[in-house]
Symmetry: C2
Subunit: 148 residues, 2 copies
Amino acid sequence: MEIACDEAVSGMEANDGGPFGAVIVRNGEVIARAHNEVLSSNDPTAHAEILAIRRASAVLGNFDLSECILYTTCYPCPMCMGAVLWARIPAVYYGATREDAAAGGFDDAHFYTMIQNPQSALNLRPLDTENAKSVFAKWLSKENRRYY
Amino acid sequence: MEIACDEAVSGMEANDGGPFGAVIVRNGEVIARAHNEVLSSNDPTAHAEILAIRRASAVLGNFDLSECILYTTCYPCPMCMGAVLWARIPAVYYGATREDAAAGGFDDAHFYTMIQNPQSALNLRPLDTENAKSVFAKWLSKENRRYY
């Protein structure tokens, strides 16, 4: 967490993004560290946790991080929590809470509400359903399909 | 949606990942297209929507995609929905539903449950709270801080 906080402060001071840092540890060894780079990279997905997960996966050459622990300076937003779940990370230690983040001007508490009811935040509609469904039919008829 | 479906099929056939495609349109012009690359890139965050958002942001040099529309072959998972919200994308058209995805072997419907109660899926604990809180204090005392 000490390293994650250092990442957060250095990223903030460099104007790379908000005050967020993350570290991924495997077998007691730090294999990835990151800070928020939304501003410097112009990438809205460049949260510290997402970058740490991408870097750890690259280090291990594996999308499965089930032997890893994530340390993050703040309770993950829904995007990052989703990434944690997809990466099968079994343990997450967070520093600040969502309430602390809101006090710092990052109110993603309402993101958790919106994620359950996204229609409240955006125009979300089905389109050309049959075409998209046929893609799944092709997938299911594919012999060497691999799940992740 | 036609292009998104083509992306999904070509990505699947190339074994890049699952059968998912996404396209981002601005002022009637396709500015980014992507398919799932979780398998080929070993990146658990490489969903079609995430990649399309990252590419569109790179094209525009902006983390704000509030003038864009996302077309995706399947209802976005929580990670991707979070990315949509962060990118301020105001409209999303999806082809298949979460139920179609589940029938195809991608049951992220339970991700929506887990995201609200992540403790049920992983060990999620506060740690070294005061240190992390002090990072927000540093942020709030930073003069040229910029929100995203």
